[in-house]
């Protein structure tokens, strides 16, 4: 008996070696008569991988006259048959369940796949692959909540990751921070936190996290494309080039590496070269979402709008929830002078990301174009934008301007004042400030609230240019009216 097990173990070891050498069929053949749990799993898994390998080869060999073949993994049926009988007999182990779930998912039986994967992770929670498969089957929060998962710390990892996928960033962030308490030195959690922060547009924090990560894990390529995006947004030329060089030396044929290089060239304004690298990234991974979107941006820069539209649309088809690509589509059409058509895309984009002021502003600008002039709609959009943390403070200024254009002085003054307050608190200065001051001065003058008007006029005197003269004139005019007025009236105006 013992000898048998030893012999079995030998078979298993041989098969495992073949498997490690990627000789899947050979591995499966060695294990053909074995009934041990490990052997059964290894055999089925080897068969599955052999089928996958053959499928991919066939996809290239058999690209039919229409451009694509529908090659299938030929082993799925037999694996499914075997594993389902095992499951029925109750002699199935969690790993086989994972494989079964995988097969079911490929065959389109998603509900059963979900049940099987839940069974698998409940009996063996440390198989992250099973969790990820399960995650890809959770497309809505309702599905996620309906899963019957026994509690385990792996579940927290799963939830955090799934929240991220479902665009529930703050929930995901809290989960990860909680996990960080236990796993203090985990690079993975750090990177995931960075991802969530990135989605929440907290670039400084993301940068800090990545710097830390690179210190502890210098040859990391994973997630580094996100870091490069942050560096791009912050226009850190040298840091980005350093990063590009680093990943290039580590592994140049990683989609992430290509993407980082593409970002670098884009920042340098060499858009053709950057497209080349994005293309390479896409060749390495056809479904690399951000590369499609970034390539779209490059095409927009190159004024090749049809190509940009194409690239964005591919991104959208990979992930219909990618608000950046929808936004890009809208932008491209707006560039072509089709603002009304573009609105459709902007609407999609704001629907997916309703808390992003940039999207609302883009949509508002679209309504504002000369061709449409749908100012009321534009005002609504700007109002939304100003409500969700508009960093560049475009919305308030535009709101004020639009209201004054539409002849609504009260609203205009309200927004100018708000804009002014904001500029004061952020200590910004510039033409907007002058414009706001001038409008307010005139407005209060017309309202006969001379004191306030005077305040704004005097502030205007600090500036050079024609506004200063206007302010002087205004002041002069006010003084003369005030002096001509009977004193009772003046008393009336001074509280």
């Amino acid at each position: 008996m013992e000898e048998d097990e030893l012999v079995d173990a030998d078979f298993y070891l041989l098969a495992k070696s073949y498997f490690d050498c990627r000789e899947y069929k050979r591995a499966a053949h060695v294990l053909r008569d074995q009934i041990g749990r490990k052997s059964v799993f290894l055999r089925s898994y080897a068969l599955y991988l052999a089928g996958e390998k053959r499928k991919e080869e066939e996809m290239i060999e058999l690209d039919g006259p229409l451009g694509k073949s529908d090659a299938m993994n030929q082993e799925l049926v037999s694996i499914e048959r075997e594993l389902s009988t095992l499951r029925k007999n109750g002699t199935v182990d969690p790993f086989c369940l994972y494989l079964y779930g995988l097969v079911l998912k490929q065959k389109g039986n998603e509900n059963l796949a979900r049940t099987v994967l839940v069974e698998s992770v409940n009996s063996y929670p440390w198989n992250w692959n099973a969790w990820t498969e399960l995650q890809s089957l959770c497309t809505t929060v309702d599905i996620l909540n309906s899963l019957n998962l026994s509690s385990h710390w792996m579940k927290d990892f799963f939830l955090a990751s799934t929240y991220q996928e479902l665009r529930m960033y703050s929930e995901s962030l809290t989960k990860y921070e909680y996990l960080l308490g236990t796993f203090g030195f985990s690079n993975y959690i750090q990177a995931q936190i960075a991802k969530a922060q990135y989605s929440l547009r907290e670039f400084d924090q993301v940068e800090a996290i990545f710097e830390e990560l690179l210190r502890t894990d210098p040859y990391r390529v994973e997630d580094m494309d996100m870091y490069s995006n942050v560096l791009y947004a912050k226009e850190c030329f040298s840091a980005l080039s350093y990063l590009a060089h680093r990943v290039f030396m580590t592994d140049k044929y990683r989609p992430e590496s290509c993407c980082i290089i593409g970002n670098y060239y884009s920042l340098k304004g060499q858009h053709e070269k950057s497209v080349v690298y994005f293309r390479r990234a896409l060749k390495l991974n056809k479904n690399y979402l951000s590369a499609w979107t970034l390539m779209g941006h490059e095409f927009v820069e190159m004024k090749n709008t049809p190509a940009a539209v194409d690239a964005y649309r591919r991104a959208v088809d990979i992930d219909p929830c990618d608000y950046r690509a929808w936004y890009g589509l809208g932008q491209a059409y707006e560039m072509m002078g089709m603002p009304f058509y573009a609105l459709h895309y902007f609407k999609k984009s704001v629907f997916l990301q309703p808390n992003d002021s940039r999207l609302w502003i883009a949509m508002a600008q679209c309504y504002e174009t000369d061709q449409l002039r749908m100012l009321d709609e534009a005002i609504k959009c700007y109002r939304r934008a100003s409500n969700c943390n508009d960093r560049e403070a475009i919305a308030l200024h535009q709101l004020a301007k639009l209201h004054s254009e539409l002849g609504r002085p009260e609203e205009a003054a309200f927004y100018y004042r708000k804009d002014l307050e904001r500029m004061e608190s952020e200590e910004r200065d510039g033409p907007n400030m002058v414009e706001a001051l001038l409008y307010l001065a005139k407005y209060y003058k017309s309202q006969k609230r001379f004191e306030e008007a005077e305040v704004y006029c005097t502030r205007l005197l600090d500036y050079t240019g024609p506004e200063r003269e206007t302010a002087k004139n205004l002041l002069r005019g006010m003084r003369s009216t005030q002096s001509s007025l009977p004193p009772t009236d003046v008393d009336h105006f001074t509280p």
């Binding site: 006259p65 073949s69 709008t305 539209v309 194409d310 088809d317 002078g337 089709m338 603002p339």
Partner: protein
């Protein structure tokens, strides 16, 4: 960006072609004497040759026959023992191909049977294939295709060959026995997909086959049905050779989603997407489906077609037209969001550069043609009843196409805008159109909507003429005719004295435009050969799918004499394109409408008849339904309701699937009319409300329907003697018509108002309305309505007192020619009654002398009214008759008329008649 598709005619080597090569080798073995071994005579040899010729010609077929079918066909072609020899050879040679090297050797050998370029030097009795003959070319293509294969390709060919042979062996292991048994067992498996007579046929066939063997007759092979039946059989059997097999399964799984009654889907299922192979075939298929959707969208089931499209998209990710088809599919099934998504998707991918055949490729324009996207989006919004959005989008389309100087698109867009303005009531276009297009706004002159429409139409027409867009030109002419029909010609800019204004519509113009539009057909028939659109060939080919197989065997019967049968299915279509016919058809509908308005019912009827008889196939189902509607309306007016309803039954069966159909509308109209006449007012009101519900709630959309509903509402109120309410409904209707420039409708509303005042006893108030209506009728040339208005005017005068009787009589007599010539039953009888009343009121009229004059009119009227079941008027007629008879002292007749009078009055007061068959319709 645009599709990276393989060359259309990609010639791939398949197991079937390998079998053909083997047969060719048997047919022309190298270094053999004139009649090679198995054949006993030259004619037999030739027969195999012809068979092979037919097979090679059908090699670009959508699906290839399997081995057992090939064997069956061989059996039919050749004699008994030589057939089995042939088959023996074929199978043994096929199964000897077991390694890639065998294949290499086979194709090297095959080259030997081709004659070299110096064919002349060969001995006479040697059989050799001319390298440039059909068979030789086929062989060369096969060899070339094989040589181009990479090693993987050879491996796949080998695997496929294995499957090809294995299926044959499994289906009939002892092949010496009749292989038909094999196929009939196959048939049982798939019988659920086939109809009964096929099964019968096969058994019949078996016995015939046995007889045939005994007699060794030559008759059997030419059985015409064989290939058809086999073909339809094959449709449902998996073609094992390539990837199509899996797809068949999928489509079959999809079948529960499909509507069983629509056999459209059956077609798609069996001959469509599943076996389509080349790019062109797919394009042709898509084109055909687009045509079908355009003609009658609801004939295609939403989900069934969607599944096929998804399959196609999976196989051909770069063929973006699939998205367009699913847009059309969504559109025809009123699936707004799907249509919108797919439209955007299509244009994002294709940039408008794929699939619009009618536009010549613009040179050097690399920016895409997104203006077409806008045009389509605009039309979509129009279809879904969002006129404001549509106008917005179309304005953008105008701007963008001007920017990209795409005149064709501009012409189409302008046509679309004018169509939109025409169909939907938009009270003001200020600020929408003006800024970008109209040349007048720059001069600071604002135009009314209809003037703007006129300018647009003219602009579009001119553009279409310059660009030689014939179909657009024709439909623009139609639109122009429509405009002329309902709008008064007014100078666009009125400077100077207004005396020169001629305020009337111009029937001559309408006629001219209609004529111009149908000139199209002569243009097309002269140049139709140049009009083949990419993929159209495949389309016709698809349509004739059944035919080629039929002729394939047929041609052997007649020997070489009738080889034209084979080429027949390769012939180009020479008929006029369907879209042209459609435009022509609608011109006839428009003619009918025009005559209807101008008051010549016979002409209207003739034109509707022309449409139903000549354009029934080509026209869209809504057009066809409209023609039926016109005919039925005519019946109702001239023959009474019984006939109309029986005709309606037929039409209902015919146009079952038409959504939001005119047929339903017609049914409601007829029922309402009928209920009004019979005095069944509650029912009438209910019907009227239902009519109103059919219209879209959006302002400005479905104006025609809304006008009709409220007109009927007012009439119902009038019949219920609620004059005040009726008048107020009519007033608001008048305001609406005025707002949306519905002048023709205004004429009838005014007439209705006059009628209301007449009935309420306020003749003096009614007169101005009647006169206004009359002047409307004159300026719009609405002759029949004018006659009716004249009649009302006469009645109004008459009710002012007997002193006006002569005046009224003159009016009636003036209107008589048109009423008797073109008027319906109701109008005629009304005229008779009014005439009689005039006479009776006239103090100069002597009842005793001229009684026949009055009695005849009244009798005529009463007869026609009985046909219509118009109780109220009929009662009046009989009352008058009874009075006259009383005067004349003819008591018997008096009693008769009086009892008829009583009958009608009773019927009017007690409208619910349980025996009435017509009530049950509703």
């Amino acid at each position: 960006m645009t599709g990276i598709l393989k060359q259309p005619g990609a010639f791939a080597i398949t197991p079937h072609k390998v079998s053909l090569c083997i047969l060719l080798k048997i047919y022309a073995p190298p270094a053999q004497i004139s009649v090679p071994f198995p054949f006993s005579s030259v004619s037999q040899h030739n027969r195999l040759g012809l068979f092979l010729l037919a097979l090679t010609k059908s090699c670009d077929d959508i699906l290839e026959p399997k081995l057992d079918e090939l064997i069956n066909q061989l059996r039919l072609v050749s004699q008994n023992w030589e057939a089995s020899w042939l088959i023996d050879q074929l199978i043994s040679r096929l199964s000897s191909l077991s390694s890639p090297d065998d294949l290499f050797n086979f194709f090297t050998d095959i080259r030997g049977i081709l004659g070299g370029p110096d064919t002349g030097a060969i001995e006479d009795d040697q059989v050799i294939l001319d390298a440039n003959s059909n068979l030789g070319l086929f062989l060369r293509r096969c060899v070339l295709a094989f040589n181009l294969l990479p090693f993987e390709g050879v491996c796949h060919l080998l695997t496929n060959l294995g499957i090809y042979c294995k299926e044959e062996f499994s289906s009939c292991p002892p092949y010496e026995e009749t292989s038909l048994d094999g196929s009939s067992s196959n048939l049982e498996t798939y019988s659920e997909y086939e109809n009964m007579d096929l099964e019968n046929f096969v058994y019949e066939k078996v016995s015939e086959e046995i007889e045939a063997r005994k007699e060794a007759s030559e008759r059997v092979p030419f059985h015409l049905h064989t290939p058809n039946a086999l073909l339809s059989l094959v449709d449902d059997i998996n073609v094992a050779a390539d990837s199509a097999s899996k797809q068949t399964d999928k489509v079959r799984v999809a079948s529960p989603y499909e509507d069983p009654p629509s056999n459209m889907i059956q077609d798609i299922d069996s001959s469509g997407a599943v076996f389509l192979r080349s790019n062109w075939q797919v394009q042709g298929y898509l084109q055909e489906q687009a045509d079908t959707i355009e003609k009658n969208g609801s004939a295609i089931s939403l989900n069934g077609f969607e599944i096929i499209l998804r399959q196609l998209q999976k196989l051909a990710p770069e063929l973006h037209r699939v998205h367009f088809l699913s847009y059309l599919n969504g559109l025809s099934h009123d699936d707004y969001s799907a249509a919108l998504e797919n439209l955007h998707c299509y244009f994002d991918y294709s940039a408008g550069n794929e699939g619009f055949d009618f536009i010549p490729p613009a040179g050097g324009n690399s920016f895409g043609r997104y203006e077409i996207a806008l045009l389509c989006l605009g039309m979509m919004h129009f279809h879904f009843g969002h006129p404001k959005l549509a106008l917005e989008v179309l304005t953008e389309a105008v701007r963008v196409s001007q920017q990209h100087s795409n005149d064709t698109c501009l012409a189409y867009t302008l046509a679309a805008i004018s169509n939109l303005l025409f169909e939907n009531g938009i009270s003001s276009t200020a600020g929408i159109l003006g800024s970008s297009y109209s040349p007048f706004t720059s001069m600071g002159i604002s135009l009314s909507v209809q003037q703007q429409l006129f300018v647009l139409l003219r602009g579009s027409l001119k553009r279409a003429e310059n660009l030689k867009l014939k179909r657009l030109l024709a439909s623009n002419h139609l639109a122009m005719a429509k405009f002329d029909l309902t709008h008064v010609q007014r100078p666009l800019l009125s400077f100077g004295p207004k005396s020169s204004l001629k305020l009337s519509t111009c029937p001559v113009n309408v006629c001219k435009e209609l004529r111009l539009s149908s000139h199209l057909i002569s243009d097309f028939s002269s140049e139709s050969s140049a009009m083949t659109i990419d993929g159209a060939f495949s389309t016709t080919w698809l349509r004739n799918l059944q035919k080629p197989r039929g002729s394939l065997i047929l041609c052997q019967e007649n020997g070489s004499g009738n080889s034209s049968n084979v080429s027949q299915f390769c012939a180009q279509p020479t008929s006029i394109p369907g879209s042209v016919l459609q435009v022509l058809g609608s011109s006839y509908i428009l003619r009918a409408t025009a005559w209807e308005l101008y008051g010549s019912t016979p002409m209207a009827r003739i034109n509707a008849l022309v449409h139903t008889t000549c354009f029934a196939d080509a026209s869209s189902s809504s057009d066809a339904a409209l023609a039926y509607v016109k005919l039925i309306q005519h019946l109702a007016v001239f023959k009474g309701y019984k006939e109309a309803f029986s005709a309606l039954k037929i039409a209902e069966d015919k146009f079952l699937s038409v959504s939001k159909s005119q047929i339903l509308l017609l049914k409601l109209q007829l029922l309402h009319e009928h209920a009004l006449h019979r005095g069944h007012l509650k029912l009438a009101q209910k019907l009227c409300d239902e009519l109103g519900v059919l219209a879209s709630p959006v302002t400005g959309v479905d104006m025609e329907l809304k006008t009709e509903a409220s007109l009927r509402h007012a009439r119902t109120l009038l019949a219920a003697k609620q004059f005040r309410e009726a008048a107020s409904v009519a007033h608001s209707l008048f305001c609406m018509c005025y707002k949306y420039n519905l002048q023709v409708e205004n004429a009838s509303v005014l007439l209705l108002l006059a009628e209301i005042h007449k009935k309420s006893g306020n003749a003096v108030l009614g007169l101005p309305y009647a006169l206004a209506s009359l002047s409307f009728c004159i300026s719009f040339n609405l002759d029949l309505l004018k006659a009716s208005a004249t009649l009302t005017l006469a009645e109004l005068w008459l009710s002012l007192g007997s002193s006006h009787a002569t005046r009224a009589l003159n009016l009636v007599h003036g209107a008589f020619p048109i009423i008797l010539g073109h008027g319906g039953l109701e109008l005629r009888s009304r005229a008779y009654i009014v005439e009689a009343k005039c006479y009776l009121c006239d103090t100069n009229f002597n009842v005793f002398e001229d009684s026949n004059l009055v009695i005849d009119s009244l009798r005529q009227a009463s007869q026609e009214l009985q046909l219509l079941e118009f109780h109220e008027l009929a009662a009046e007629a009989f009352y008058l008759m009874a009075m006259i008879y009383d005067k004349l002292g003819q008591l018997e007749e008096r009693e008769e008329a009086a009892s008829s009078f009583q009958e009608h009055i009773l019927a009017l007061n007690n409208p619910q008649d349980p025996n009435d068959p017509l009530v049950s319709i509703y």
